[in-house]
């Protein structure tokens, strides 16, 4: 039990405008948003809560939940070609979305192993992004998709590349008066693709992963890699893309030799640690084996 549950106070705004107004007025008082509660409640009852003031977003679902094709950026610069996923969309809603399944089946795969059904019914896309667990299952998928996050405050709305949004462990570039309102997924003309999502954990869903690997590989007419994305969770202080490996492998055809080259590059590029869930050695071997097999062309599903 927490030392004193009565120390925790809650403000429940009726809409986004009221929430942003409150966040602007109280920006230095340490209030934090409360979305589905699955992360926050485990923290409070584990005596490791980051705050005692919570802005309950339950009444903002009408505005901030849902998946919209041809979403437009609030900044007006990007006008179309985006899917907008509201920050309060639950993981269950991600799993059931036909729109997202058509764009990238990796989203459903990642959501399906983010805790059990009970957690998926409450946990939100935005909550997972802001709590920024280094091993968060959905996070490498957003990285691989070159997603952007939409951050709203009373005075402005800005979009930030998700890659730049992630900072130190569990830290993001969000300001105290900003609310994550959506994640934006670019829709591109897709060539033939091969995809992979793999979470390595002591249980398929209900355990935090030792590591997560996801990959999107475009293949051109000649069968060479184009626009290759390799993203990892649990392999560093935050979810990350293996950018140097991506560049090294771009333009080459899948082969066992290329897979071995990929594995060696990842050894140089990734910096996993020992912790209570796994060891640096196991994590690196797993990453090398999975990425090596993917690049060689032995694993992954076709998508077009």
């Amino acid at each position: 039990m927490p030392t004193n549950i009565s120390d925790h106070h809650v403000f429940t705004p009726r809409d986004v405008t009221e929430a942003l107004q409150f966040m602007a007025l109280h920006r230095d008082e340490g209030w934090r948003p409360l979305a589905g509660g699955s992360e926050v409640m485990a923290q409070i009852y584990g005596n490791r809560a980051a705050a005692t003031g919570w802005i309950n977003l339950a009444q903002l679902r009408d505005q901030l939940a849902g998946i919209h094709e041809d979403g437009t950026h609030e900044d007006g610069i990007h006008d179309d070609g985006w899917v907008r996923i509201g920050a309060l969309t639950t993981l269950t809603e991600l799993r059931r979305s036909a729109v997202l399944q058509a764009i990238c089946p990796l989203i459903r795969r990642a959501a399906a192993v983010t805790g059990g059904v009970q957690r998926q019914n409450r946990a939100t896309v935005g909550g997972r992004i802001v709590s920024a667990s280094p091993a968060g299952e959905t996070l490498p998928v957003w990285l691989a998709l070159d997603a952007e996050v939409e951050l709203s405050s009373r005075d402005a709305t800005r979009c930030v590349a998700y890659r730049q949004f992630l900072q130190e462990p569990r830290q993001t570039a969000i300001a105290p008066d900003e609310l994550l309102t959506a994640i934006m997924i670019p829709i591109r003309d897709r060539p033939r693709q091969r995809l992979l999502f793999r979470k390595v954990a002591s249980r398929a869903a209900g355990a935090i992963g030792k590591m997560v690997f996801t990959a999107i590989a475009g293949l051109d007419a000649a069968g060479h890699y184009r626009d290759l994305r390799l993203a990892f969770g649990g392999m560093g202080p935050r979810p990350l893309r293996a950018c140097e490996a991506e560049q090294l492998l771009e333009g080459h055809a899948p082969s066992d030799a290329l897979g071995a080259q990929a594995a060696d590059q990842l050894s140089a590029e990734l910096t996993p640690i020992d912790d209570l869930r796994s060891t640096a050695d196991y994590r690196l071997r797993t990453a090398r084996n999975l990425a090596g097999a993917f690049i060689a062309g032995h694993i992954g599903e076709q998508h077009s």
Partner: protein, 156 residues
């Protein structure tokens, strides 16, 4: 400072009005305030599923649900499944198939399965195993639990 708020929602069809700290767990409201002790307190971290209840038609962990997010909600617990001494078909199947042993996980599994079957979720073994991803049982190995659910689904 007293941060208690007044909350109104329904539990097992009955209106409830109560004063509570807003971040109080639904689990404690059920077990301590309403004395509905069928909902079990397991890990308290949303992993074991022993506290699974149905809120607005969805299976959720009562240990991770703050009362402040229940305003106007419809909550159902394992006590709601039977009609006095008459078990629900799912409960009856658990009895007949040996789906329950020590019983700690059973209320949570019954509620998760009830939500799944009500919304027409799939009943092949793979679908049911995936549905059970948020419920841990350390006795049965899940085989008899899945047989119980399949028998109940077939009886409908």
């Amino acid at each position: 400072m007293n941060n208690d708020h007044v909350f109104r929602f329904h539990v097992n069809g009955q209106p409830v009005e109560m004063q509570a700290p807003p971040m109080q767990r639904l689990l404690d409201v059920l077990r301590e305030t309403l004395r509905l002790t069928g909902t079990k307190n397991g890990c308290g971290q949303g992993i074991c599923g022993a506290c699974t209840v149905i809120v607005n038609g969805q299976a959720v962990s009562a240990c991770l649900t703050p009362v402040v997010q229940l305003e106007g909600a419809d909550v159902q617990t394992v006590e709601y499944l039977s009609d006095r001494d008459c078990l629900s078909s799912l409960q009856q199947s658990f009895l007949e198939c040996g789906g329950t042993q020590c019983g700690s996980c059973t209320p949570g599994i019954l509620m998760a399965a009830t939500a799944h079957l009500r919304r027409g979720g799939g009943t092949n073994t793979e679908e049911l195993r995936e549905m059970l991803s948020g419920n841990l049982c350390r006795c049965t190995g899940y085989i008899k639990i899945i047989e119980s659910m399949q028998q109940a689904a077939a009886a409908k």
